[in-house]
Amino acid sequence: MLLLRPLNFNDIQGLERLAVISGGSMTTLPANRDHLGELINGTQQSLRKDVEQAGDESYHFVLEDTESGSLIGVSGIDATVGISSPFYSYRTEKVVHASNELQIHNQIPALHLCQDYTGVARLCTLFIDKEHRTPVNLHLLSRARLMFIAQHPERFASRLIAELQGVVDENNRSPFWESLGRHFFEMDFTKANYLTGINSKGFIADLMPHYPVYVPLLSQEAQDVLGKPRPDMQNVMRLLENEGFSYRGYIDIFDAGPTMEARTDFVRSIAQNRQVAARIGESATDDSNLHQALISNTGLKNYRCLVSRIDPEQPEISAEIAELLQVSEGDPIRIMRLSDAELG
């Protein structure tokens, strides 16, 4: 059985393994032991903190195979971004250049380095071992975070973003980086990306363009990938859109991947899950009433979430699941049904 729970200090080796196989593709998951230690530490400190208003807390969760004990995925949420160190995006904006006399009307898109997402919450890490990359597991890893937000809304900002990785070519080079960032950094994409993870983008203010960059001055390849997710992230983008996220013209300053945003309380998996009292017993005999659902406890430090089949009308969980969720008869649990369509 796969179980999602907060990171703890015993996870360092498992986490390192995940960082290594992710191959540096995630800025938030660099293969750097100090930094990974920070992820654990940050999560534990955040969970212990008595939060009244979202601050610089950060929560990371792992997906554990309860039989083997191995970690097969990691996901995270930042309570807010941009507070302890600046959070940059490019906003794409159209500038109109018009001349009445010449009857010319041009709309020129330009990229503005901005910090518009300062103070919003962020879904910040999502990596799953390729072997276990099934729709159900991906939903569990990603949406269990949203259940956590639903349970602890005071811990998160009222807007939520998620960044999708941008397009890179077969040599892992980003055409956007080659056409723009490179001129300002004089280092390669991988190195810049790595530094970003380590330094939380703090150094970017010193190096990046302060003035808007006119899109027509970029290479055609770079223009083509603005706001486009990496092809294998298309399904994640759809998942986010189904959750109510939308793309509003903000892109990543390194690879031009789109940033998706939503009102936190309007996100479907946050708005639509419900809390019930746990009833422990055998599942209903009529199998046709059973549906795949995310089930979590309402804990903080001991937050647990998993996927199981359940009758949403008469939700009853098995003793095994109750134990994994650390709940007893009558304790509150959260349930959200997964539609078959979503699970493909």
């Binding site: 020129i108 300002f184 190096l207 003035y211 006119y214």
Partner: protein, 342 residues
């Protein structure tokens, strides 16, 4: 003997004739009836008492005193940018550095400015091809400084001159191709033609935000502040007088604007008054500009001179006649060219 004087109403035919010789590169005096008439009209309007001093255009012609033929033209705008804005790109430096990363990166930027608003401008210099010898070009250009020295109250304390920007053998401007083109739906030749008539529309369409030059194609970057080959001699002449490229370029072709404090122009600073003696056989000397002091009848010639005593020079009768002066008149003189003393 060549003499430079202010243009007059009856120079219309001569001006029209001169305009036929300019050719397509010369946008400020084209082979075009309307443009010629307009030019002459605004030059004559300068002397209308209703005209504000800052709207004045001083237009000079160079006349061959033997034939009466007009062989060249030059001008000064008293002030630019006071009616329609006067645009330039300004080349700036930005350093992006991070101590933590030990990265140091020097960048250049182009920012649109109207910094030269109110400055006086040297404009419209054209010398007929068959008169291009015997330093006539220097006389035609520098006589303007003699006028400015004499009537300095009519001019701004700063002076500019725009130099035509680089274009390749096909007339293509890499600066335009790399930057302006993206913001227009016009091709270069069309935009070029329009720009000669009215530059404001270019500014309306050009990017208002600062441009990082490192995002431009290499050849566009190279063209920033580069003078067109044909204009290089004119640039050298003005640089010898103390005008400098200070990072302002044309928004259209990237050509440099030369700037100086008017008082610092060599010919203005070093020119001074002397009394004229008239003699058939003056002593030989180096080439000087000599000008009269009258406003509407301003004249300027070039002649070899040496000073007699401290404040007297000897001029030949034909020079005196060309300047319309008599024995004992005060004239302004300055060596035609600077010679740095060491």
């Amino acid at each position: 003997m060549m003499v430079v004087r202010l243009i007059q109403a009856d120079d219309h035919e001569a001006l029209r004739e001169l305009a036929r010789k300019t050719g397509p590169g010369f946008t400020s005096l084209q082979d075009n009836d309307e443009q010629v008439a307009a030019k002459l009209s605004s030059a004559l309007q300068t002397f209308d008492p209703e005209t504000r001093p800052e709207d004045a255009l001083y237009l000079f012609v160079m006349e061959d005193t033997e034939t009466g033929e007009v062989v060249g033209i030059s001008g000064i705008e008293a002030a630019v940018g006071l009616n329609d804005p006067w645009y330039n790109y300004r080349v700036g430096t930005l350093v992006h550095a991070s101590r933590e990363l030990e990265v140091y990166n020097q960048l250049h930027t182009l920012t649109i400015t109207n910094d030269h608003t109110g400055y006086s401008e040297l404009c419209t210099l054209f010398l007929a091809p068959d008169a291009r010898h015997s330093k006539h070009g220097s006389l035609l250009s520098k006589s303007r400084f003699m006028f400015m020295a004499e009537f300095s109250h009519l001019f701004n304390e700063h002076l500019i001159a725009e130099m035509r920007g680089y274009s390749d053998e096909n007339g293509i401007s890499p600066f335009w191709e790399g930057l302006g083109r993206h913001f227009f739906s016009l091709d270069f030749s069309e935009a070029d033609k329009l720009s000669s008539m009215d530059k404001v529309f270019i500014a309306e369409l050009m990017p208002k935000n600062t441009i990082y030059t490192n995002l431009l194609p290499e050849d566009a970057q190279q063209a920033i502040g580069q003078t067109h080959q044909n204009t290089t001699p004119a640039r050298k002449l003005l640089e010898n007088e103390g005008m400098r490229y200070t990072g302002y370029v044309d928004i259209f072709d990237g050509g440099p604007t030369l700037v100086a404090r008017t008082d610092d122009i060599r010919a203005i600073q070093d020119s001074h008054y002397v009394k004229a003696r008239i003699d058939e056989h003056p002593p030989e000397g180096e080439l000087y500009l000599v000008s009269s002091n009258d406003f509407k009848d301003f004249r300027c010639c070039m002649t070899a001179l040496t000073s007699v005593g401290k404040h007297v020079v000897t001029l030949t009768p034909d020079v005196a006649e060309a300047l319309n002066i008599t024995e004992g008149s005060t004239v302004r003189v300055v060596p035609l060219s600077s010679g740095r003393r060491f």
